[in-house]
């Protein structure tokens, strides 16, 4: 048939002539795509292997670990390792301490940063922009430069070897969270504020009655970030906590490390458990969590 097709404007002859290179291109695209999937999968396997190895090692017996050639998969998974390691290392205390500090920090951060971010994002007052630049600059500050005087101050106050240095500063805001919340405040339409103000609402009233109910997502992000950061923190507890009863999980793990030189399975078991809480939280809040990472990365 040599009448041109209504759709492509080509005759059958033209179409079959064009078919061969088009098919080749299609195969090439499929192959490229398959190659990329294979690469992504290979990378994923490499990234997963440490986890798998950690979990497998946690279930081995001592003899199995040091054997050469190695025993990759233990014939029976020794769940008792977890219980034995937990009680040997006295981990209940560590988990209680860490939970307390993390929860306190979340409350502190949400309270103080919400207020500050609201002011920086919604209220006009002289010096606001200059002060916000200061907030931003503290985000880039290496903490070592304030570390020693802070230690000295807390020492003089008698706060060393208590939870106070780890919790109190968060009641005064955290630059990162302020930045995040301000970004969100900037996206809310001003008409909401204006309407409420005209009706006689105060600025703070606008925050608590109108804006706060809209802020579940960004507050979740701040809470999750703060909780995870505090849960995983090592440096601050290392500096300020001396008595084992006050140790956080990170400190407890390193202490446990010193006492389990050949019993790697115990150390791995407790390491596995230490990762559970952040992972669970991540899975529960995945979308908002990743959104938060992205928002902070894309400079507003």
């Amino acid at each position: 048939m040599s009448t041109p097709s209504a759709i492509s404007g080509q005759t059958d002859q033209q179409k079959s002539k064009a078919a061969a290179p088009r098919l080749a291109r299609k195969i090439r695209l499929r192959f490229n795509r398959a190659l990329l999937i294979v690469l992504a999968a290979a990378g994923a396997v490499l990234f997963l292997t440490p986890w798998v190895w950690m979990i497998l090692t946690a279930g081995k017996e001592t003899a199995m670990i040091w054997r050469v050639p190695p025993v990759w998969i233990p014939p029976t998974y020794r769940w008792e390792n977890y219980l034995e390691a937990w009680s040997q290392g006295n981990f209940s205390v560590f988990y209680l301490n860490t939970t307390f500090i993390a929860v306190m920090n979340v409350i502190a951060a949400v309270l103080s940063c919400c207020l500050a971010a609201y002011a920086f994002g919604r209220i006009r007052f002289p010096g606001r922009d200059l002060l916000f630049i200061l907030v931003l600059s503290t985000m880039m500050l290496p903490t070592q430069v304030t570390l020693i005087p802070l230690f000295m101050i807390f020492s003089q106050l008698g706060w060393v070897n208590t939870f106070k240095p780890l919790v109190v500063p968060l009641f005064f805001g955290d630059a990162f969270s302020i930045f995040l919340l301000r970004q969100f405040f900037l996206t809310l339409p001003r008409e909401l504020d204006d309407a409420a103000l005209i009706d006689g609402c105060s600025r703070l009233g606008v925050l608590f009655r109108i804006l706060l109910p809209l802020m579940r997502a960004p507050l979740t992000v701040v809470a999750v970030f703060q909780f995870t950061y505090t849960w995983n923190d090592f440096f601050a507890p290392l500096i300020y906590l001396n008595s084992p009863e006050l140790f956080t999980i990170t400190l407890g793990l390193t202490r446990f490390q010193g006492r389990t030189t050949t019993d790697l399975q115990y150390l791995m078991a407790m390491t596995v458990v230490s990762t559970l809480v952040p992972i669970i939280i991540f899975f529960l809040t995945q979308r908002t969590f990743i959104q938060g990472v992205v928002i902070t990365g894309i400079k507003g």
């Binding site: 503290t138 995983n232 894309i298």
Partner: protein, 306 residues
């Protein structure tokens, strides 16, 4: 509508109320900034000119801390170690994060799962990562050397060798690029597709499209990522502390570890403050240098070239 009868209703204008409310809201942050940031910074700067052990004695010694610092072989070692680590981990990490982001940007089925697999290591504590990789690098029973043995390669002593310890830490840092990868992924997804379409029509192949569209459009994200990662790498501490204690033979003595020892083991707070300020100066210089160079290679949408 209920009218708020808070005490703000003092007959002040909205503007004046705003000023009061604004400052009250940022007051906690402001107090924190002065007490926990600015104050300590000034204090630590002054402290660097003293010899101090906090409790019993502090006396002014002028520039002697800095002089001693520049003569201390251990300080230079720590600087060397930190620089090698940073300038190894940052390019490697950036490359890997970009590669993975590019791979994941191909409309793969189940993107969420891929993303999770690559991001999950960034969610756990540095201590957990360090303890895990400490075992993975174990020369006898560890994963890496046993995997290499399958291919007939005799793996090095990794963390027990002064040549291989730092490379081991750099390799380990790649496992944590998940967060950077997310940023690149977001950046990639923000590149308008019409650019690619136009290029394809003009006959550009995939490689040209990559170099002339993808990379330039990504430069802001790369810039931000590199600065953040660089600042973080210069402060690396946990790995060195937990895995090698700075050894073997100070091969992994990071600057922050050096600082930590001077402050909390030798109790020399003045000297440690001097080290902190040197570190701060280095980080600021690098950041400014990157910032300055960014004019050359970072392309922002909506700016005219030249």
């Amino acid at each position: 509508m209920t009218t708020s009868r808070s005490f703000w209703h003092l007959g002040l204008s909205q503007r004046k109320q705003d000023i009061i409310t604004g400052y009250l809201c940022i007051l906690p942050w402001l107090i924190g900034f002065l007490s926990f940031v600015l104050g300590p910074m000034i204090f630590s700067f002054g402290l660097s000119f003293y010899e101090s052990d906090l409790l019993t004695q502090s006396y002014f010694i002028g520039l002697r801390n800095y002089q001693e610092l520049f003569r201390d072989e251990l300080f230079w070692q720590s600087l060397r170690v930190t620089a090698i680590y940073a300038f190894g981990a940052v390019p490697l990490g950036t490359l890997m994060a970009l590669l993975i982001a590019l791979l994941l940007n191909q409309n793969l089925p189940g993107l969420g799962i891929w993303r999770t697999i690559y991001y999950l290591p960034a969610v756990i504590s540095g201590v957990a990562v360090s303890l895990l990789w400490l075992q993975i690098f174990n020369p006898r029973a560890g994963l890496i050397n046993n995997a290499l043995a399958i291919f007939g390669i005799q793996g090095p002593a990794w963390l027990y060798s002064s040549t291989w310890a730092l490379p081991a830490l750099i390799i380990m840092s790649v496992w944590g690029v998940g967060a950077n990868m997310l940023l690149y992924l977001a950046g990639l997804q923000g590149i308008p597709t019409h650019l690619y379409e136009a290029a394809t029509i003009d006959g550009a192949n995939a490689i040209r499209r990559f170099w002339h569209i993808t990379v330039p459009m990504l430069t802001p994200t790369i810039f931000f990522n590199v600065i953040i990662t660089l600042i973080g790498s210069f402060q690396f501490f946990t790995q060195a502390f937990v895995m090698t204690e700075g050894g073997p033979n100070n091969a992994t003595l990071s600057m922050v570890l050096y600082l930590y020892r001077k402050a909390f083991q030798q109790i020399r707070f003045g000297y440690a403050s001097a080290v902190a300020w040197i570190l701060f100066a280095i980080i600021i210089s690098l950041t400014l240098a990157l910032q300055y160079s960014s004019k050359r290679w970072v392309y922002y949408e909506g700016e005219d070239k030249k």
